[in-house]
């Protein structure tokens, strides 16, 4: 069951293990659940709302906006929609589809979610929306496999959808394990202790100075290591983060896998992570 109190009144990015992991589908479902429990805003960190996936050709769900919904998109997307919208804010920069706008839905219609072109601009838009509605619940459909956009917005968290099949289950499981470990990193508060500050990306090739000083990341959205590499690091040094981006929960989407068994294995691999079963599955083995 989806823990809605993890989402209400907060900004949450929906990140995924790959394209078509089910981010937009989950977004649409969550919107239906959350409507009626306060002001709701959503947008995208990638072009969405398309009828078919440009990569696989599969039909993609459109994003339907209902009256009261606040949406972040572009002016041209609004003009082309069959819905009816009130423009609350126009931002001074342009996307490939017109200016970024924040709109309120007046009459139902499906809408393309066109993102502002940089993460910091998305942050500005979200702050503007929150200034209008302080208890706003925000959901952002993230780009596949990228957490970095979460970091641009303070106090944001994320949830993770994982598309798992026999050929990638091991890899995705390790990735989720890594996310769990990152989620548990303590926050760096002590400005007096000597530490190795990592303002940019931390990768497997990052050379750290010798010593025992703790390593402090800006946020864990900039960690581009394998799980093994990260575990090796944490075995030898204390690691902290200046800014936490909480992982609210993970929704695995199993394809060609026995659900019960796959979930059980996943929980063993990543015990720190809260898993929520795919709400669209009503399987006997799940």
């Amino acid at each position: 069951m989806i823990p809605l109190d993890e989402l209400a009144g907060r900004v949450t990015f929906i990140a995924g293990s790959a394209k078509n992991a089910g981010k937009t589908t989950l977004l649409v479902y969550l919107l239906r659940l959350l409507r009626g429990s306060g002001a709701l805003c959503f947008g995208s960190a990638g072009l969405d709302g398309e009828q078919t996936c440009a990569v696989t050709g599969e039909e993609k769900p459109s994003v339907t906006c209902l009256p009261g919904d606040l949406v972040i998109t572009s002016s041209r997307a609004v003009e082309e929609s069959r819905g009816n919208f009130e423009i609350l804010e126009v931002f001074p920069w342009h996307t490939g589809m017109g200016r970024t706008v924040l709109v309120r839905t007046l009459r139902e219609g499906s809408l393309e979610l066109v993102r502002p072109e940089t993460n910091s601009r998305l942050g500005i838009v979200l702050e503007t929306a929150r200034a209008l509605y302080p208890d706003l619940t925000v959901l952002v459909d993230g780009a596949a496999g990228r957490l970095t956009q979460s970091a641009s917005v303070l106090r944001a968290g994320y949830l993770y959808t994982a598309l798992m099949n026999p050929s990638n289950v091991e890899k995705v499981s390790r990735r989720i394990r890594l996310l769990g470990l990152l989620d548990r990193l303590p926050e760096w508060r002590d400005e007096t202790e000597e530490a190795v500050m990592i303002p940019g990306a931390l990768t497997g090739k990052t050379i750290l100075p010798e010593g025992t000083e703790p390593v402090v990341l800006e946020d864990h959205g900039r960690v581009f290591m394998t799980c093994r590499e990260f575990e090796k690091l944490t075995a030898s040094r204390r690691v902290y983060t200046r800014r936490k981006i909480p992982l609210r929960f993970c929704v695995p989407r199993f394809v060609d896998l026995e659900r019960k068994k796959a979930l059980s294995e996943l929980k063993k691999t990543a015990p720190e992570v809260t898993f929520v079963m795919n709400p669209f599955e009503e399987m006997e083995d799940g």
Binding site: R32, V78, N84, P92, R107, E108, N165, E282, E284
Partner: protein, 528 residues
């Protein structure tokens, strides 16, 4: 005038301190004027004075005005042929805040800045939705669109009800709940038992099926009808946008004038804000060519730098007798600082700002020129520092205008002393002959000066300063010794007298730690 001058005088740093509130303020700062006519600048200052008086009134009014200034968006050019909804939003927000701004101003300020609000009809037309700063193509724009939307809302309700009923039927018959979901993934055993008239089913993976509810014909009819009406609505909206766009275009002249007025207003607001924040006063403008008068003048960037370094800043008192002044004095005695300060004040005034001083009087120039050694990269032209100085001077002497001000810092200092003397003397003669103004800093003693040139000397170390330095500086690091040096210097230019011919250069060199033997030999050579 090039960027070197702005950097040299610290105007670039001052510029960075300014805080425009709207895109118009930013544009105003990007195109600061160069006032050369006294009456124009006085008229501008009069308007700034009006704003200062207004600002001293109610704090609340000032805050509200700044609030509305901040909310002014950049509007599209009214010359465009068509406008989209977001364009119209911007026009509406602009007009709303402009009106609010205008309403907050007293009549004399409104008039002085041409901020009388005359676009009420356009604002009204953009506000038929009843909102202040948002925008929608409201029903009130067209009876036809109101009707279409009414029908669309009814259809939406019917479609929702039909879907809900269908989902309830499906749930009753199959136990599957599609109310919140567009599809469900089910194992083959259960999926096989679902009637296909209710559900569309296809394989999801090797272990499951994906099921979607089928809808009734009534539902699809309504959907189709809705699509048709939505298409009509879109057409109607386009018509409304076109009409509103035409209305905006009809107001292009007043919109253009408004824009200029707002830019002008915010420029004055920025000047007034800076005047309050930094204690700046309106300078008295003198007749062309007159030398300046400064009482307790502060070069803001230097003052800030001193504050950051924990060093006391000394304000400037200076009133040269003639249009050309030679400035001499000890090393680190403030000659260059004096040039920077005077240049800073001149740039401030002629670009419409007040002056950070207790009192300031100055005249206006057609242009301002800097001739100074270029530190660091000389721009890859293959010229030496001296070559750069010569080029700068040549350009400056060739520039047009009867009234020009030159800031000359140690011209020819990298040539021989004989060449430097000859060049400086000749330069002073030319400047005097042409009636130009200048401040020329130099180390050269006994320059042969034409008439109309005054000589000043930076006061240098305080009485007892040397002893104080030697005592206090012992054992201190370089940064602290420089701080002590500053503390014991008097940075005031005074008319030079015969007895001011000594040099503190060796004293300062000793204080800063130059080799003692070297200093002893130098002293001997100087007969000291």
């Amino acid at each position: 005038m090039n960027s070197r001058l702005f950097d040299f005088t610290g105007f670039t740093e001052f510029y960075r301190l300014l805080k425009p509130l709207s895109p118009y303020g930013r544009q105003a700062l990007q195109s600061l004027p160069w006032h050369t006519r006294r009456e124009d600048l006085e008229a501008w200052y009069d308007r700034v004075d009006l704003l200062l008086e207004y600002r001293r009134g109610s704090r609340e009014l000032k805050d509200r005005l700044e609030y509305h200034l901040r909310r002014l968006p950049e509007i599209p050019s009214p010359e465009e042929e068509a406008f989209s909804s977001d364009d119209l939003f911007l026009f509406k927000r602009y007009l709303y805040n402009l009106k609010a701004l205008s309403d907050l101003l007293p009549p004399e300020v409104r008039t002085a800045f041409h901020l009388e609000f005359t676009l009420g009809d356009l604002l009204s037309r953009l506000s038929v939705d009843g909102s202040q700063e948002s925008f929608q193509i409201a029903d009130a724009y067209s009876p036809r669109i109101a009707l279409l939307r009414k029908e669309l809302r009814l259809l939406d309700q019917e479609i929702t009800a039909l879907r809900r009923r269908r989902c309830e039927d499906i749930r009753e018959q199959t136990g599957l709940d599609f109310l919140m979901k567009d599809f469900i993934i089910l194992d083959p055993r259960r999926a096989g038992g679902i009637p296909t008239d209710l559900i569309y089913r296809e394989p999801y993976d090797s272990r499951s099926f994906i099921l979607r509810p089928t809808m009734t014909e009534e539902y699809y009819d309504r959907y189709s009808r809705r699509d048709d009406l939505a298409e009509e609505e879109l057409e109607e909206e386009r018509g409304i946008l076109k009409a509103l766009g035409t209305l905006v275009s009809e107001h292009r002249e007043p919109l253009k004038n408004c824009r200029e007025a707002v830019t002008d207003f915010e420029k004055a607001w920025i000047v007034a804000s800076a005047a309050e924040e930094y204690g700046m006063v309106r300078p008295r403008l003198l007749s062309p060519g007159s030398p300046p008068f400064v009482a307790r003048g502060r070069c803001l960037p230097l003052e800030l730098e001193c504050s950051n370094r924990g060093v006391d800043y000394q304000s400037l008192d200076f009133s040269p007798a003639t249009g050309i002044s030679v400035i001499r004095g000890p090393n680190m005695g403030g000659k260059t600082t004096l040039l920077k300060t005077l240049g800073f004040f001149q740039l401030l005034s002629q670009q419409g700002f007040f002056i950070p001083a207790e009192e300031c009087r100055l005249s206006l120039f057609d242009s301002l020129h800097l001739v100074a050694p270029q530190r660091g990269d000389t721009g890859g032209q293959g010229l030496s520092g001296y070559g750069q100085e010569v080029l700068s001077l040549a350009e400056a002497l060739d520039s047009p205008g009867d009234h020009r001000l030159f800031l000359i810092d140690e011209f020819g200092s990298t040539t021989t002393s004989r060449d430097a003397r000859a060049l400086n003397e000749a330069l002073l003669e030319i400047l005097a002959q042409r009636g130009l103004n200048a401040f020329l800093a130099t180390h050269i003693l006994d320059l042969c000066l034409p008439s109309g040139v005054s000589v000043y000397r930076m006061a240098g170390l305080r009485q007892g300063g040397l002893e104080s330095l030697s005592e206090a500086g012992r054992g201190e690091n370089l940064e602290n010794r420089i701080r002590l040096l500053n503390k014991n210097m008097i940075y005031t230019p005074e008319p030079e007298t015969e007895k001011d011919r000594g040099s503190d250069a060796l004293i300062i060199a000793d204080y800063l730690g130059l080799d003692a033997e070297l200093l002893r030999r130098a002293s001997k050579k100087m007969g000291l």
